[in-house]
Symmetry: C3
Subunit: 470 residues, 3 copies
């Protein structure tokens, strides 16, 4: 039967499958890009004509100058932020950074296509027109797959990750289209679209791939002193650039400005409550690096949807305050519970960092939208912020709140449903994943350098040098 | 008496005090933000109306686009720069990064309030209006407290750091108000306001907290190979982004442009003289990592005040040239002298990196201001650069030089005076600081992972894998 | 004879030579800056007058706001990117980061002068006028010397590096002037000017400095687990910010926008083919960190020249696709071949990362330029993109393609010719380089901290603490 078929002995040799997947998919990307993707009017050489015909006075009005600094910050979050955050395991740093690099490199190309078909297909010529905003959106889409990677870190093969990313990006593009375009929910920082979806997608896959004998690799799940410092590089770059993440595709002007302020404040509050709960949870008040590395970021997730709204500075602090507490408690109580009783093993604790704060973010967004008023936003400001234009010009804030809540449900359904289906596919015994006693170990997929201590010439040489120095 | 009371046996359990301080202060922040803090007109949803009424043609004129890239660079300096610079100690990397994170997260909230009351209180509604410039200023204010942390690194508890930050931010806001608003000194890069104040504040606290038996922890003061590489991450991000630090709140246009150029040049010159003196100071010409990590940054500190003036490119190089020499000599001669004879133990050598270069920066600023002329700046340029407007429209450059010097004195007084008072408070035996034989050790406040070499299963497993491979 | 003279016993004491070189050259810089360098009109205090007289409506039109975010990204690439990329050696991290810092700090000053004499000398007053674009160009120039450093990493003294940089910057400024101004080739991302020149300059020097007995240091050429993770910091910051590198000095508006998109796409494709070939090349399909660290960047190099052209998104992907394959194969086959048969030892494999992709980039640029048409670019766009103005207003795309090819040849000639001459100079036995058995070892030029394991008090103390905890 299916279960038995899936539980055959593992073969981790990916020498055929990994190069094949990489090459074939990359060639497919080239062909599809050739057919579909062109520069948009702001990155095309015709921009000089476009400027004249649209009466644009200066090159500085090019969207590039509004968004490129934020794009670069988001780019750092994707590659250094997520990559290094996952280096905390003592012997899985290569896999954390390297596979993060691989799936982000593939995912962003596929995202440009998928999102392009839904959002920026030019009806005149059937081409997708890309610019700086497309690059940010592609990075956002990739973020959801990297979040999912956090749940299965160390337990899957790079080929599985590529498959997971292929489906993840596809599902993302569809749910994003439904949430943002059909339902007309707003989600500048992606609490729902990115974090809720990505986290439940990853958790469902992890549930489908549950390994009952994972305790054979238990001794490799912890960190060492240096790997925790490496992970802090990831944490800090995520933390610092989160204001750019939440403001990157917000409206020009006050929208971007406000989103950055709200995120900045929310994250600051999260740091304090994370440290408070972490200290409280230990007999002698000592802090736990796992909490500092992860829960301090929960405020950024939870303020994502509402960041561009008039959440007010104190509102942002309250969101951050609560999320620091909830996320840290999640690491202490919920993660072990989920592993023991729900059979969901969550390597990085994405349930605490992305799933719960993402859902909270969706709810906060719905409430903030429902409570919006012309008094607070101004007549023009309200229309502008919530995009009550064209077919949505008769929309009112209270109904917008309902639409926000509907968006959250869609993200949850796509995450859980998609994850279960993709998880089934990934259980097939053809993907080269590691046996239960070799999880969380770079040895399986990487040529490792010999360790210093096992390298006699170095030691001898050092002694020799020291003797000479004496 | 007081001394005896302070010298009771230490109890490092912060399980009550640390969570209490974090939670109570964070709740206080939420309440105060609720009462006082609102978005300014460029981050409020009414921006669209403001644009119309002020005849602003484009969203790109929003201050966000002038300052946000610099803000993000400053933000990286605060969290990664200062955090990692302090990881050089062999067993205090968690404390360096983690407590840096904690006090910056708290400090920036308190700074928004304190600076807001002095600088951006709207007389119409009694609210503080914040925007991107407020966030930069809050980060600047936090920088002064992180500098002070450098002097006491490894010797204080997180609770003491929180108290130190509370008072530090308060003092900073007052001295900043006196220096910039009352005295009308200019200090774009904060040589006086940030560096001189912060360094003397920290040194005075360290003097008050002097531990005669600190040599019991002496063996933990050094670095190891990897911790020096981690520290270089901090050094380099500080070094690279210092042009953004000094230009972040300079005038739009030529002011920001010039400040970035001057800082870029000064720092380049500092690198060369630091390496020259470091090599000269050793018998065989070998370089010392401590100098490279710290003294290379002195040029950025010293050019802070004058960065927005017409210091001239060669002027910047001269400042950098001198500071590299002075700062490196400081590490070689002054730090040991201060510890031995003045009973000031300065863990990171902030006297050489911030105090002396800060004072030099104040003096350079005074001289440059006094020497300013309409010939060099142009009539409009002079008024613009030195803000000779409104009540200061009859100010002349020579008098401005005097005001700059007065500003430097105020910064010194606040730093030393404030530090002594706060140091007294921090001597009370209630703060949970470590005993003399447990300083510079993460073991006291952190749950540490077990070291790899003491973890038999890993070693056995590795051997097993290698045998299999053979 | 010359060879014998050069092969005298080595003396690695640089206590006189290194400080002397640093101080004298820095003083020379100050004098030359005093004579020649001034602020340009956008960074001078007269900007306010310039604005009025040139009818510039807003400060945001200052070039600072077009280019400063890109400048900061390039700055990170130079100092963190190149610096950390070279930390992969197990005992040469200090030298990698520290000497990178030193030569970049010197090189950028000398580059401002050399490039200024050729490009921005004001005929009115004989002064060089600098601004943000000058800083980017200086960083670019430094990049070529840091690439060259990659070939000789671990085998030369800091004094040799300073000499190499002095000549390298000089040669760069001349070839850049010939290629960009005289030949009128376009090279926004510097495939030819920076990468081809820098790589062949370094390889030629390495050839001249060939050490037949280098196998005495062979055991120090590898990496250890942590040093590979440090190197990934360099890789990722180079990879992420390469779009800024290639777009930093492109035309305002669509030029910068398009260059960023092309580079983003090319690099993504490179990641996939690098991983494919790396996995294919090992018996069991394991990945090699050396490839991931280096070959993933080849796409950014190869798309440099054509990045601002209408290369088309699929064109960028094709370039990246090919370069990932070629560069990885280079690491597997060409580097060992060059060492064994051509007597060129290339520590970092710059031949695979910069030389070959640089040449490919030059060729791609020539083809793309030759194929340009008014249909694709628009009439104005074509003139604008290729700068067919003033004395070049009768230029046509096909001839431009020829000029591009000529530019590539000039870069090759300057790299190889200059490298051979400078290599000869560096063979003189006066520069303090290490003997063959002490290469790749920080011990030679750095005061190293004692290793943790050789430090009994720490171990004892830890045991003591653990016992207490029990």
């Amino acid at each position: 039967n299916f279960r038995q078929c899936c539980d055959q002995p593992k073969n981790t040799n990916v020498r055929i499958s990994l190069p094949a997947v990489c090459c074939i998919w990359q060639i497919a990307m080239i062909i599809l890009f050739g057919i579909f993707i062109r520069y948009n009017e702001e990155s095309d050489a015709h921009w000089i004509d476009h400027k004249t015909s649209n009466n644009i006075s200066s090159n500085i009005e090019n969207d590039f100058y509004f968004r490129y600094p934020s794009f670069q910050d988001v780019h750092v979050m994707i590659f250094v932020g997520f990559g290094f955050l996952m280096t905390f395991l003592k012997r899985y740093s290569f896999g954390a950074i390297g596979f993060n690099f691989l799936i982000a490199g593939f995912g962003l190309q596929w995202a440009l296509l998928m999102q392009g078909w839904f959002h920026s297909l030019d009806p005149m010529d059937g081409k997708i027109k890309i610019g700086v905003e497309s690059m940010i959106n592609a990075d956002f889409c990739v973020a959801s797959c990297l979040i999912a990677y956090g749940a299965v870190l160390g337990k899957v093969s790079p080929v599985q990750l590529m498959v997971m990313t292929l489906f993840g990006v596809t599902l993302y593009a569809v749910e994003e289209y439904i949430i943002l375009s059909l339902i007309h929910a707003r989600d500048a920082g992606g609490s729902m679209v990115i974090h809720t979806f990505g986290a439940y997608y990853g958790l469902s896959i992890s549930w489908m791939l549950y390994r009952p004998n994972l305790d054979q690799s238990k001794h490799r799940i912890g960190s060492v002193y240096h790997s925790d410092v490496f992970a802090m590089i990831g944490t800090l770059f995520l933390w610092m650039f989160w204001p750019s993440f939440n403001s990157a595709i917000a409206d020009h002007g006050d929208g971007q400005h406000r989103a950055a302020i709200n995120t900045y404040l929310s994250l600051a509050a999260t740091v304090l409550t994370t440290i408070a709960i972490s200290s409280l949870s230990q007999k002698t008040g000592k802090l736990d690096m796992v909490h500092i590395q992860n829960a301090t970021l929960a405020g950024g997730v939870a303020v994502g949807t509402a960041a561009e709204f008039m959440l007010m500075p104190y509102g942002s602090l309250i969101v951050g305050f609560c999320c620091g507490i909830i996320s840290t408690l999640g690491y202490i109580y919920i993660t072990p519970f989920m592993e023991k009783y729900l059979k969901i093993h969550d390597t990085c604790g994405i349930h605490n960092l992305h799933a719960m704060p993402g859902v909270i973010g969706g709810i906060v967004g719905a409430i903030t939208a429902a409570a919006a008023s012309e008094e607070v936003y101004g007549k023009e400001g309200l229309i502008n912020t919530f995009d009550f234009m064209k077919e949505w010009k008769y929309m009112v804030p209270t109904r917008q709140g309902g639409h926000q809540a509907a968006g959250l449900c869609v993200a949850l359904c796509f995450g859980i449903g998609g994850g279960i289906i993709v998880g089934c596919i990934l259980r097939l015994p053809i993907w080269g994943d590691a046996p239960d006693n070799s999880c969380f170990d770079d040895e399986v997929y990487w040529e490792l350098p010999e360790d210093e201590e096992n390298n006699p010439p170095t030691v001898e040489y050092n002694n020799h040098m020291r003797n000479k120095a004496v």
